[in-house]
């Protein structure tokens, strides 16, 4: 029954309030925050009017600097100035194979921590510092607390990377409305920009080459719905890598073999300058160490050819996955600063046979799209398009021989749920270990390990009789939840999630929480069952004890105890957890006294025939 809202005289009912929502592009090299104001999406500048926030954090002994203020420290104090932390998010120590000047701590399979002047800092905490800066900027600009944010992630980010991103946002005190894939965000920004276009059913390709990640998505825009048909990419390919290729060339030319961390950072900055200049001029002069030379367009193009080839290979595969031909593509959108490189721009144009769109600033387009999405999700607007995204990587389980059995294939529309049935292989087996991985390879070792789920509490049965139904769910954020139950006895097994990257207690608790989110109602049933099992065990033990030592009780006590046991027996036949619990409590008041009597008798017997001398 809906309640009528009755206003006080003189006071109108509050009109639908405009909620403050922003979109955040947490980029590898730069981050941005944008919002929708008066129906228009716009990026928010800092006090100095700059919209980009360098994703750089410096941890000094006295204070922490984020952004432009942190950048000069990269050369002065490289070990404590964290650059491109996104490349470390959700990654284990052994995953990190690119050059960097940092001291990383932790085991091979753990998400590493940086050793800084302020102690250990995990990639999650460092990202939080960046997000806090953006949050402050937004709240200052908009003059109030944020209701929610949409944070973008590369479409190709896996579970661990997504979780890490969401954790960072939550630590920054942000309410995450959605983790949005970057190409989808860009499509939103362009889609709405092109409402003038008449074609009702469009196929759009988003080519997103940023500072550290590469994504390609193919979307269909139709009837107000953005449907991602397929997505692909590389989470360790971007402008940073192009800088490294240039840097390597410079070192080779200069004969500079050993670089200090400070050198590395200076080289990275110089390489970036050279790369950016080559987007404007044909040749750039470089001074490095004692060497002076020229890098021209042709040589540069040859240097970055492996990058171009990989990007185009991904495009081919994504087209295949989407079951579309190049000729069917209506528009190609360029996103990310690295698409400004002439060779890249040209390669995309050649491959798709059409001029790509870059009318919206490629640095800003993702944040703008995120802002539009946030505006919609927070309820400020209801006429926006619906986004139907997909999971970018196949989800599978480890089976015999280290192979992967695919449960949810890549590019499956989300949200999605799949079930898989397992059984026990040993008589009386009560636990089972399930190893979940993400990736396209056939061997477990070549895929990304997401976690080992331990199912406990399987009722002991003959091998092969148990029916364990495991349900895998991926929600609209692309995050996974796993639940399990044994169907023949309807026992909802306990799930203990051991994430593959040694996360903190808080994280483990968080993961457990999410796992149970989808089994809330099941939890109640589980509780009742457990309580009953416990009570039944106690009753049995008590029966046994009465058989042996019933004579210890006087007839009055005996009767009272029997009454309490009958009560409990009755309650066990019903389905009220409270009734069972109350009966147990009542019984305990008698059985405890009985137990004490038996104990005394036992001690007396043990002591009989012995003297104090024997015990000292």
């Amino acid at each position: 029954m809906a309640l009528l809202q009755i206003a006080e005289p003189g006071q109108s009912t509050a009109p639908h309030q405009h909620r403050l929502a922003v979109g955040i592009d947490l980029g590898t090299t730069h981050s941005l925050v944008a919002t929708v104001r008066s129906g228009q999406a716009a990026v928010l500048p800092d006090a100095e009017g700059r919209v980009l926030l360098p994703s750089v954090v410096h941890y000094g002994h006295q204070d922490t600097q984020v952004g432009y203020h942190a950048q000069p420290w990269a050369v002065k104090d490289p070990a404590n100035t964290i650059i491109s932390v996104k490349r470390f998010m959700g990654r284990s120590l052994e995953d990190i194979r690119f050059d960097h000047p940092y001291q990383l701590l932790g085991h091979d399979h753990e998400m590493p921590a940086f050793m800084t002047a302020q102690g250990r800092k995990t990639p999650v905490e460092i990202s939080t510092d960046i997000l806090k800066a953006l949050r402050l900027r937004a709240e200052d600009s908009l003059g109030g607390e944020l209701t929610g944010v949409v944070i973008t992630v590369p479409a190709y980010f896996d579970e661990a990377q997504r979780h890490a991103t969401r954790d960072a946002a939550q630590l920054a005190g942000l309410n995450v409305l959605r983790l949005l894939n970057e190409p989808t965000a860009a499509a939103i920004a362009y889609g709405l920009d092109r409402t003038a276009e008449s074609k009702p059913d469009q196929i759009q390709v988003v080519f997103d080459l940023g500072g550290g990640t590469f994504d390609v998505s193919i979307l269909r825009l139709n009837q107000g719905v953005y449907e991602v048909l397929a997505t692909g990419g590389h989470t360790a390919l971007g402008g940073d890598d192009i800088d490294r290729l240039v840097g390597r060339w410079i070192c080779q030319q200069a004969g500079h073999i050993h670089l200090t961390p400070a050198d590395q950072q200076r080289l990275a900055q110089e390489s970036r300058r050279v790369k950016e200049q080559l987007s404007q001029t044909n040749s750039v002069t470089i001074h490095w160490s004692n060497w002076k030379g020229e890098l021209d367009q042709t040589t540069f193009d040859k240097l970055i050819e492996p990058v171009v080839e990989r990007c185009l290979a991904v495009c081919k595969r994504v087209l295949r996955d989407a079951k579309r031909q190049i000729a069917q593509v209506d528009a190609v959108v360029l996103v990310g600063g690295s698409t400004r490189i002439p060779r890249i721009h040209h390669a995309v144009e050649q491959f798709f046979g059409q001029k790509p769109l870059c009318t919206i600033n490629p640095d800003q387009v993702v944040a703008l799209g995120a802002a539009l999405s946030a505006d919609q999700l927070v309820g400020n607007r209801t006429d926006g398009a619906l986004l139907l995204d997909v999971t970018p990587l196949s989800l599978g389980l480890e089976t015999m021989g280290g192979l992967v059995e695919r449960i949810i294939p890549r590019n499956t529309p989300i949200p999605v749920a799949r079930q898989q049935e397992f059984t026990t292989y040993k008589d009386g087996q009560t636990a089972m270990l399930i190893h979940v991985v993400q990736g396209e390879r056939d061997m477990v070792d070549h895929c990304r390990s997401l976690g080992r789920f331990e199912l406990r509490g399987i009722p002991p049965m003959l091998a092969g009789s148990a029916r364990i139904e495991v349900t895998f769910k991926i929600d609209a954020d692309g995050l996974l939840a796993v639940t399990a139950r044994e169907t023949t006895s309807n026992v909802h097994s306990e799930i203990v999630i051991k994430p593959s990257y040694g996360l903190s207690e808080t994280d483990t608790a968080r993961l457990l929480n999410e796992g149970f989110q989808y089994a809330k109602e099941d939890q109640q049933l589980r509780s009742l069952f457990e309580v009953k099992v416990e009570a039944e065990r106690e009753l049995m033990a008590l029966e046994q004890a009465l058989e042996e030592d019933g004579h210890l009780l006087d007839p009055d006590e005996h009767v009272k105890m029997r009454d309490a046991m009958t009560e409990l027996q009755k309650a066990l036949g019903g389905s009220s957890q409270t009734a069972v619990e109350m009966a147990v409590v009542r019984l305990k008041s008698h059985s405890n006294a009985f137990a004490a009597q038996r104990m005394n008798r036992n001690i007396n017997q043990a002591l009989k025939g012995t003297s104090l001398k024997d015990w000292s």
Partner: protein, 171 residues
């Protein structure tokens, strides 16, 4: 309510792909968690159901199996194909796939498999009409087989594009 009913489509094998995807969009617009007005958990459940149904309806092999199950005739689908002629052709296809040396060869293989799928689809409609369940099941198995061959061709094409799916390449 079965998947066809959910999508407002007649319970039959022939399906209009455009109508199917149009209905899919409409359903998601109604039930997706992002659309305000629905309880979040309920929306998640419904949206997942819609995705599940869509997944079944749009692939010929899954649609065929589903139709058989609706008529309680889906038992034994996981058994092997009985038709030895078909198996002979299947073996040849696999051999061709293993020996393919170029994208062009794979493309022509793909066309051949697509033709198989089309023919099998027509056959299934007849089997269903005649209520010839034994035949229908075998046709459904063949459809599933051919679908798997298509997936393998996809993987082979990936390899030709030098795509090694390594997440952590060093540049």
């Amino acid at each position: 309510m079965n998947h066809f009913e959910l999508f407002g489509l007649p319970v039959q094998f022939e399906i209009d792909a455009d109508v199917l995807s149009s209905r899919y969009r409409e359903l998601q617009q109604r039930y997706h968690p992002d659309q305000n007005g629905f309880d979040a958990q309920e929306a998640l459940r419904l949206s997942t159901l819609v995705n599940q149904a869509y997944d079944v309806l749009r692939m010929a092999d899954r649609r065929a199996a589903y139709l058989l199950n609706l008529r309680q005739q889906g038992g034994g689908l996981e058994q092997s194909i009985g038709d030895s002629d078909f198996l002979q052709h299947a073996l040849e296809l696999r051999e061709q796939l293993d020996e393919a040396e170029s994208g062009i060869e794979l493309a022509s293989l793909r066309m051949e498999v697509q033709q198989w799928l089309d023919a099998l689809s027509r056959e299934f409609v007849i089997d269903l009409d005649d209520e010839d369940w034994i035949e229908a099941r075998d046709t459904a198995r063949k459809l599933a087989f051919m679908q798997r061959v298509l997936a393998d061709i996809d993987r082979a094409e990936d390899r030709f594009d030098d795509f090694d799916s390594d997440l952590d390449d060093d540049f």
